[in-house]
Amino acid sequence: MSRVRVLVGTRKGAFVLSSDGKRERWDVSGPHFAGWEIYHLKGSPVDPDRLYASQSNSWFGQVVQRSNDGGRSWEPAGNQFVYDGVPGTHQWYDGTPHPWEFARAWHLEPSLTDPDTVYAGVEDAALFRSTDGAQTWQELSGLRQHSSGSSWAPGAGGLCLHSILLDPSRPARIYVAISAAGAFRSDDDGETWRPINRGLRSEHIPDPDAEIGHCVHHIAMHPARPEVLFMQKHWDVMRSDDGGESWQEVSGNLPTDFGFPIDVHAHEPNTIYVVPIKSDSEHFPPDGKLRVYRSRTGGNEWEPLTKGLPQRDCYVNVLRDAMAVDSLEPCGVYFGTSGGQVYASSDSGDRWAPIVRDLPAVVSVEAQTLP
């Protein structure tokens, strides 16, 4: 029978939640790296027992951890992220030039084909790749050296590259998203990049339709239909049917189109999930009701999913990397909150139950379906 492993990064350590295919009883392992912020951990699709974790804090900086046994044991890997060449400057919050400075790795994306190859999205925004199991990292500097790079400005969370999508049908195609620069695509394995933000509209920048400057919160795709992208922007839920060449708003009847995560059902490429948040200044659900919204039409028409979720006095947030799906039947959906709950649904979102209630604030959630 298949099993599920849910990898949870929190403000004070990592947790590994395991269950059989029924997803009713869970074993909780952790905290791993207790006391450290774990921005993200994720397993290789080729070798599910190969995990990578981004461990950091303000005192001791960045550490990358690697596991070869599904998270039972870990070993520190390489943590030297050096920008290629003379890094130059990007724009600071006040509009002045600011030197590029590495702060932390937000997202680790293992290769679809090689367990030793893994990508890292970092702050200040850049994309790195390791081909030796995270021992050494090389910047794919064509992204940061794009002609717009010096004009990129940070969002409230920093100038972070937080989303990395690898196209299974075109091995040379990579999508990334940066707050608050926008989305970018490479069709040559990360050598060169171009912005893919046509159709995005952001009222908080001088030119709302500008090519650069959009605070993209997260992007998602279904592997069977990789030319279709979904995006949760600072405001607006967006969809592209042409690999990011153009975007259309699909917020539809959402109670608010602000939010952070967005994800796609494992078996239904047109079924997507978001967690609406009241506003950019009030990072909690509207009306104190924690509701996941599901669209079975690829956007525009949304239904609230509430069964098992708190429907009063709930003021948690769900961060951009804190939602994931498994590939069992029915599809499992998971998300973690700033209040330390990790909720699971084993029926595509119809009903929810907490796996754990009292973890540190959850930063990231990934799900692995195991044989």
Partner: protein, 98 residues
Amino acid sequence: MIRVILPAHLRTLAQISGEVTLEVHGRATQRALLDALEATYPMLRGTIRDQVTQDRRPFLRFFACQQDLSHEPPDTPLPKAVATGAEPLVVLGALAGG
């Protein structure tokens, strides 16, 4: 041998308990000591000083012999009591935090 007391998180990362003792060849300076520490425990690279600039990470301090040595140039000789192992060098993390 030079004695070093590390913060708890770094002891966990390096899988050590208690003080670290290190042999430093040549002049016993802050730089030579950290070089020896990182050579023995490579997982500590980047956690005490930046890997590129070699600057001390801003939330860490170096104390020894009732003195704050954090702002000493890295090639300044360590106090004799540290160099001889009579006193430890303490790497201390800022006490603020959540």
